[in-house]
């Protein structure tokens, strides 16, 4: 199981909890699991060519997934995955 932290506004949009646990071994499975629970959530998070959207920063166990890494990137069991988008208030 892995723990996923969603951006608060995305969670609100889909009526989801901000922190979820899902069964997944890589980013593609993570998106699939999220999409099963919240239809169309995956299209908010990733493009059809298999990459997270450019306005998101994804961290697995505190390390940022680089732009070159794709959805097949593995996620170790019990990892914490943070999906962040920029905010602008000051």
């Amino acid at each position: 199981m892995i723990t996923v932290h969603l951006p608060p506004d995305l969670a609100h949009e889909f009526g989801a909890e901000r922190i979820l646990t899902v069964e997944a071994h890589d980013c593609a499975e993570l998106l699939h699991s999220l999409n099963l629970r919240y239809p169309s959530m995956a299209s908010w998070l990733a493009t059809e060519d298999g990459r997270f959207r450019q306005h998101l920063s994804v961290f697995i166990s505190g390390q940022r997934l680089t732009a070159r890494e794709v959805l097949s990137t593995s996620i170790p069991d019990r990892s914490e995955v943070w999906i962040l988008r920029a905010i602008s208030g000051g």
């Binding site: 959207r53 306005h55 680089t66 988008r85 905010i87």
Partner: protein, 395 residues
């Protein structure tokens, strides 16, 4: 004990008394204090973050503080922007802030820049400072500040706030930048600003103070981590998390082969000029499936087309387009399973949520469109609108 240097500010007994309790820290000492007094820091935005950061930097004895902000003080600022008070309503924030900071510490030279940052003035303004503290409140300025800092090799202490959410990062030349973290801004309309979403003033103070801490560490020479760190603070759960990142070799401005070598049009980059630019970061080519309000009104007259409003039930109750049905995003699958129509116009408040929903429906085989500008645009045209009666709350 206190070296005389023509390039350093002259020590006074008052200075020794004022800074004694931070000079006693071995990481600061006399040399660190001297560095602070000789430093020049520019604060971008004299708002909530800038107020807290500037206050602590001035108190710590940073020699020159620049304040840049073209705005004036409004009463709605006062619950979080602690540089200003009620006697300064209507006064330029740079003037109000400068008065407060001079009263706090007369050792500090305050430079007022009562203007909004732009690609035309930023290089001139940034060039005079050693370090930039970013407390701006919109995406175009955030990308502008980042790009100018990278181009001028200035360290940047960046922070942003929304509701109870906080992000803080220190970007050092060569070790990654804001674009390495967020190559593009969120699609317009998907992330509200503080005016829409709200903000607790004290929480902004926490992050502005953290910006001051990070700036002071850099200025006194505490060697920073050689890896970028993004600090996340969630005030609701009182939790801090640290994320690590590295320079992105593909970064548009600090990567191995940068494609941005000079300042660009940041309003355009951030899609702040209207719905046509949302295609940059949106889910699909909007022009193919996008309907303006007139086209949408025509489409809704067709009995084979269903209008589906994906806003929340609360938003829908407050007002909606006649003949449309509410269905939250998470219930779309259920809705299409219970309806025979294959032609759907999707509607939301600004056209962003509906664009994603329309794309999803199209991927499921439906003929779906999105209303550009959403119900906001619809209302601006004065077209029919259903507003359910609202009752006064009972206490």
């Amino acid at each position: 004990m206190y070296p005389e240097d023509a390039n350093q500010p002259r020590w006074t007994a008052s200075m020794m008394a004022r800074y004694q309790r931070q000079m006693v820290l071995p990481q600061v000492g006399i040399e660190g204090q001297q560095r602070l007094l000789a430093s020049r820091v520019l604060i971008v935005g004299a708002g909530a973050l800038g107020s807290a950061a500037a206050t602590y930097l001035a108190a710590a004895g940073v020699g020159t503080l620049g304040l840049i902000d073209g705005d004036t003080v409004d009463i709605s600022n006062l619950h979080r922007q602690i540089l200003h008070d009620e006697s300064h309503i209507g006064v330029l924030k740079t003037r109000s802030g400068a008065q407060r900071l001079r009263a706090l510490n007369p050792d500090v030279h305050i430079e007022e820049h009562p203007e909004f940052l732009s690609a035309d003035n930023i290089i001139r303004l940034f060039s005079d400072y050693d370090l930039i503290v970013n407390g701006s409140d919109n995406f175009p300025t955030r990308y502008l500040v980042n790009d100018a800092s990278v181009l001028l090799h200035k360290p940047l202490v960046d922070a942003a706030i929304l509701k109870f959410e906080r992000q803080l990062a220190v970007f050092l030349p060569g070790l990654g930048c804001y674009r390495c973290l967020f190559p593009s801004p969120p699609p317009p309309g998907t992330v509200p600003d503080c005016a829409e979403a709200g903000i607790l003033g004290a929480v902004a103070g926490v992050l502005g103070s953290m910006q001051a801490v990070e700036a002071l560490k850099l200025l006194v020479g505490i060697v920073p981590s050689q890896q970028g760190n993004l600090l996340l603070y969630d005030a609701l759960s009182s939790s801090w998390h640290r994320m690590s990142f590295e320079r992105n070799p593909d970064c548009q401005i600090c990567g191995d082969r940068p494609t941005i070598t000079e300042l660009i049009d940041y309003e355009d980059f951030c899609g702040s000029r209207g719905p046509s630019t949302t295609t940059q970061t949106g889910p699909m080519n909007l022009s193919e499936f996008a309907m303006d309000t007139d086209q949408a009104a025509g489409l809704l007259k067709d009995p084979t087309v269903a209008g589906v409003d994906v806003r929340s039930p609360e938003e829908f109750r407050q007002g909606h387009i006649p003949g449309t049905q509410q269905c939250s995003m998470e219930n779309l699958d259920k809705w299409v399973g219970n309806n025979t129509t294959h032609r759907i116009l999707v509607i939301c408040a600004s056209g962003v949520r509906s664009a994603y929903a329309a794309q999803y429906l199209r991927s499921c085989g439906y003929e779906a469109w999105t209303l550009v500008g959403g119900t906001n645009a619809w209302n601006n045209t004065g077209k029919p609108w259903v507003q359910l009666e609202s009752r006064a709350p009972e206490f």
